[in-house]
Symmetry: C2
Subunit: 318 residues, 2 copies
Amino acid sequence: MAAPVRVFAPASASNLGPGFDVLGLALNRPGDVVEAEPSDRPGVQIAEVTGDSGLLSTDPHQNVAGVAAASVLAHLAATGRAASDAGIRLRVHKRMPLASGLGSSAASSVAGAVAVNELFGRPLTRRELLPHALAGERVASGSTHADNAAPSLLGGFVLISDYDPLEVIDLPVPAALRVAVVHPHCRVETAKARALLRGQGFSIEQAVANLGHVGALVAALYRGDLALLGRSIEDRLVEPLRKALIPGYCQVKEAARHAGAIGCSISGSGPSLFAFADSDIGATRVAAAMRDAFREAAGLDADSYVGPVNLQGARPVE
Amino acid sequence: MAAPVRVFAPASASNLGPGFDVLGLALNRPGDVVEAEPSDRPGVQIAEVTGDSGLLSTDPHQNVAGVAAASVLAHLAATGRAASDAGIRLRVHKRMPLASGLGSSAASSVAGAVAVNELFGRPLTRRELLPHALAGERVASGSTHADNAAPSLLGGFVLISDYDPLEVIDLPVPAALRVAVVHPHCRVETAKARALLRGQGFSIEQAVANLGHVGALVAALYRGDLALLGRSIEDRLVEPLRKALIPGYCQVKEAARHAGAIGCSISGSGPSLFAFADSDIGATRVAAAMRDAFREAAGLDADSYVGPVNLQGARPVE
């Protein structure tokens, strides 16, 4: 173990319309930072959590960054790459909103896992870190969905093609693609949003619609066809159930379309929405229209982030 | 209207594992042939149907080729490209088994639609003919699924990305890809196989599995990655319900895998199965193993067809 490390892991937009639990992309910002340094006390401790308004636990078994870090540390110890009594102290800096639909827990989990790996000289590959990040994610959401953690960790636009065994496929990112995400100041708990879907019986027609759209979305990325990408952002499975959790949803989506968005839907389990555009100017205009619509339709202030897909994923920072 | 025409429309394999109603590919054989010639009697008549063991109607309103042909003729008349009293006489030659899961009704529908278009000097494009072919298909199956008619008409490996409005996307076909289809001598009525799915409530987990696999299948075709293609041929939605309609299903699928198939599942609504392979020799071996397994496990003789994906689709023949 060497000098202390700081790792940034980015926010992510998942589901992306038709691809519940299977599609996600990394954003350039916001994101979380986790610092890790050696400690004399065996195991993982969390010295502090900042930026969370006191909402997150500093118990390493309850904090997602702690759980992910401990998973990596245990793996390194079990494979002889860390001493069995190795100790790590984490500082977790939340720099993005909780329960926002932007993969906040995934970003912390990823940053925790990557930070430990960096501290030990990077013994594991990025892809090898994914199961450890998911161990953290599971604490937050009560489920193992990888469509936030995988893009936050690996960067890019990814498809989780299988969960058993886990398989992640990098999809091409069209050069002109820009993403706008708009986060209204309200919260949707992921576990609650997921509970809405459990026990639901979906019709074959709903499934067929989403199957066609996921196929089209993947084809659109390979073709670099943003118009097709836009047409593919339709979700018959999840959006009909979850949109009620987001005040002003229909009006904001309509505002995005009216402002020229090529597709708009819920980011993760919301309340953030994402929209695609084909230029920075276009994405900025779409984001502004969506913020305005949240205010007018639901009386909610909103933050927005605009930019290309983050191709790099989590990374050490100064 | 000119000289009589003969049109061949190929069989097709649809669903292809995860892609219920959205994925299909054209085969080189078998297929149906429809002959069309001018008639003095207005509208569409069917002079004869051969190869159907007397099972199909010669009433043009009941026979899928007649319905598709009439749909094209009505469209041409409505748009001034055919006389309002134009008459066509068809001869329908079934050269593939009925209720086989190989798109028999789609092939007849497509051949009927294309034959009328040829007779009038090809006023419509292939894609413009699709809705007319589907009008025929609807008579047979009671539903409008395009994943047999579209590949039979257009050739290749296609995605029906949307039904409202209908959108068909051509997917790339890896050069080495070979398809084996094996048709056991029993029947599954499409309408009955579809009824199994109606009123079913599918879980979100089932949907997620198929969403991931359809995405992977499309990515695999763009990448030319046959191993990934093979891993994507898993169906959690439909196969669990429909496999009971096919005697010996599990044993035949296992035999295909054992013989080296890269993916195997039900073709359309069955009872035919398809398997992918990466060479003619491999596909031939897989087909033989599947035929043997149908005989051993279910006492059923079976036919098989092996070859590349048919890139041409329906075509005039001598």
